[in-house]
């Protein structure tokens, strides 16, 4: 039976300190008697991470698993670590390189996301992100002293993005993964960003539930995966959904075994060439997607699926509502003026929202 007293956390397992990972600051959060869970919060990949287990006695063991999974994902697929397997592939042409099982899994997930969205979630935008100044985890104020300015006609305003030039042919269909043999077209730099984080959440939650037999929630930068049963005394996980503190908020119940992801045009913003930009690019032009939506949150059976849909919805702009509806995807979209649109059975928010 779960207890209300979390155990003392043991020393985290030894591992190589990654470049961008800050020193974990695990905290065991005493919970209310009515909520017999234990929580660990830390900083990962320049964002907040949270682990919640339904049995406090298993928090340390669960944390070790999550660390192992996220470490493996980072070592394989981080664009921000020079020593990652992905970085060692380099921007130079790569043909038929056998990669690790983890990197193959991450690339496969990214290609699935691309196929499912007709390329709206595109893993081949690494060079575009670098050109915009997003090269070291936290975007720089301006790339290389303006040496690599944003496209001249880029304009980000409410609901408007001007394309900088001709529509580009997508490169992702030419990324080949045959088993563990990866082929990347010349000049293409992979960025597995969003999908890798979601895969990490899925993998970590699944492993914790399978190996420890406990209900678990893993949140990596707000991308949430759950596995196993809900905490004792309840049938679901409560999740607050809110991007910035000034944005509309709601609280929902997420069924065990499901996931939730939020994509935002308000986070990871910086200026490039004197213009405001954010990190979700429209692959057609290689520039930030028009900020029709401040944020999009989607629920799905996996975090990868949820993140794929939320990211693509940002890229699709106004067309996202019809698209998400056609997929029967439970989603919550907050537009540039803070108005909320929901699809696919997401609870409506009336006169004050549906949450706390």
């Amino acid at each position: 039976m779960p207890t209300s007293t979390p155990p003392t956390r043991t020393t985290p397992p030894t591992r190589t300190t990654p470049t961008l990972r800050t020193t974990p600051t695990p905290r065991t959060t005493p919970t209310l008697r009515t909520d017999p869970t234990a929580t660990r919060d830390w900083t990962l990949w320049t964002t907040d991470a949270r682990l919640v287990v339904a049995d406090p006695r298993l928090l340390d063991a669960a944390a070790a698993i999550v660390d192992e999974v996220t470490g493996a994902v980072e070592r394989a697929g981080s664009r921000f670590r020079e020593d990652s397997e992905l970085s060692r592939l380099g921007p130079a042409p790569v043909g038929g390189v056998e990669v690790s099982a983890m990197l193959a899994r991450l690339v496969d997930a990214a290609l699935v996301a691309a196929r499912d969205t007709d390329g709206d979630v595109d893993p081949t935008l690494g060079a575009d992100l670098v050109a915009l100044g997003y090269e070291h985890g936290v975007p720089s104020a301006d790339p290389a002293g303006g040496a690599a300015p944003a496209p001249a006609s880029l304009a980000v305003a409410e609901g408007v993005t001007l394309a900088p030039g001709p529509r580009r042919a997508p490169a992702w269909p030419d990324v080949r993964l045959d088993g563990r043999v990866l082929t990347v077209p010349a000049g293409v730099r992979l960025d597995l960003g969003a999908t890798a984080k979601a895969v990490a959440a899925d993998l970590a939650a699944r492993r914790v539930a399978d190996e420890l037999g406990v209900g678990v929630l893993v949140s990596l930068g707000g991308d949430i995966a759950t596995a196993g049963p809900a905490p004792a005394g309840r049938s679901s996980w409560g999740v607050d959904v809110q991007d910035l503190p000034t944005d509309p908020a709601t609280t929902i119940e997420l069924a065990p075994g499901h996931a939730l992801a939020t994509s935002s045009t308000q986070k990871r913003r910086w200026t490039s060439g004197g213009r405001p930009v954010h990190h979700i690019l429209d692959p057609r032009w290689g520039v930030p997607a028009a900020p029709v939506w401040r944020s999009v949150t989607v629920a799905a059976p996996t975090c990868l699926r949820a993140n794929t849909l939320s990211t693509a919805a940002v890229v699709r702009g106004l067309g996202a509502v019809a698209w998400l509806t056609s997929l029967a995807a439970p989603a919550r979209l907050v537009d540039s003026r803070g108005r909320v649109v929901v699809t696919g059975g997401w609870p409506a928010e009336v006169d004050g929202g549906s949450g706390s």
Binding site: T37, T39, D41, W45, D48, R50, V52, D108, V199, A205, L217, G222, A227, G228, P229, R234, G238, V239, D240, V241, T246, P248, A249, T251, E253, L254, P256, G257, H258, T262, S264, S295, A299, A300, P301, T302, R305, L318, G319, V321, L324, T325, A328, P330, V334, R337, G338, R339, V340, V341, V342, G344, G345, A348, E349, V350, D351, G352, S354, G355
Partner: protein, 111 residues
């Protein structure tokens, strides 16, 4: 980030109504959304789309979301939709239900 799992407090957070038609969304978008009946009928007033800071209004009334414990998969399946049609009633069940007021364990926001 520690959060006290208490959803009955007034957090002072900004709240919003779900928008309906004619708030600047495209006809395509509106048609798509209304096809599943998720919009709140009535208000077409875009100016009333937000209510600002209000007192707590816990709208969750369901004591049990009725969800299964199916664990899903970590695979990158591309066909799952995350919702099921319950059949003859026409009601749609989803993995997301209104808050039951039992508190929250996490927060989803962009990163």
């Amino acid at each position: 980030m520690d959060r006290t799992p208490d959803t009955t407090r007034d957090t002072g957070r900004r709240r919003a109504r779900t928008v309906t038609a004619a708030v600047g969304l495209s006809a395509v978008a509106i048609a798509g959304a209304t096809s599943v009946g998720v919009f709140v009928p009535g208000s077409l007033d875009a100016s009333a789309s937000t209510t600002g800071d209000t007192s707590s209004s816990q709208s969750g009334t369901s004591a049990d979301s009725g969800t299964s414990t199916d664990q899903g998969s970590t695979d990158s399946g591309s066909t799952d939709q995350g919702s099921t049609d319950s059949g003859s009633s026409g009601a749609v069940t989803t993995p997301v239900q209104p808050s039951t007021g039992q508190g929250s364990q996490a927060r989803s926001s962009g990163s």
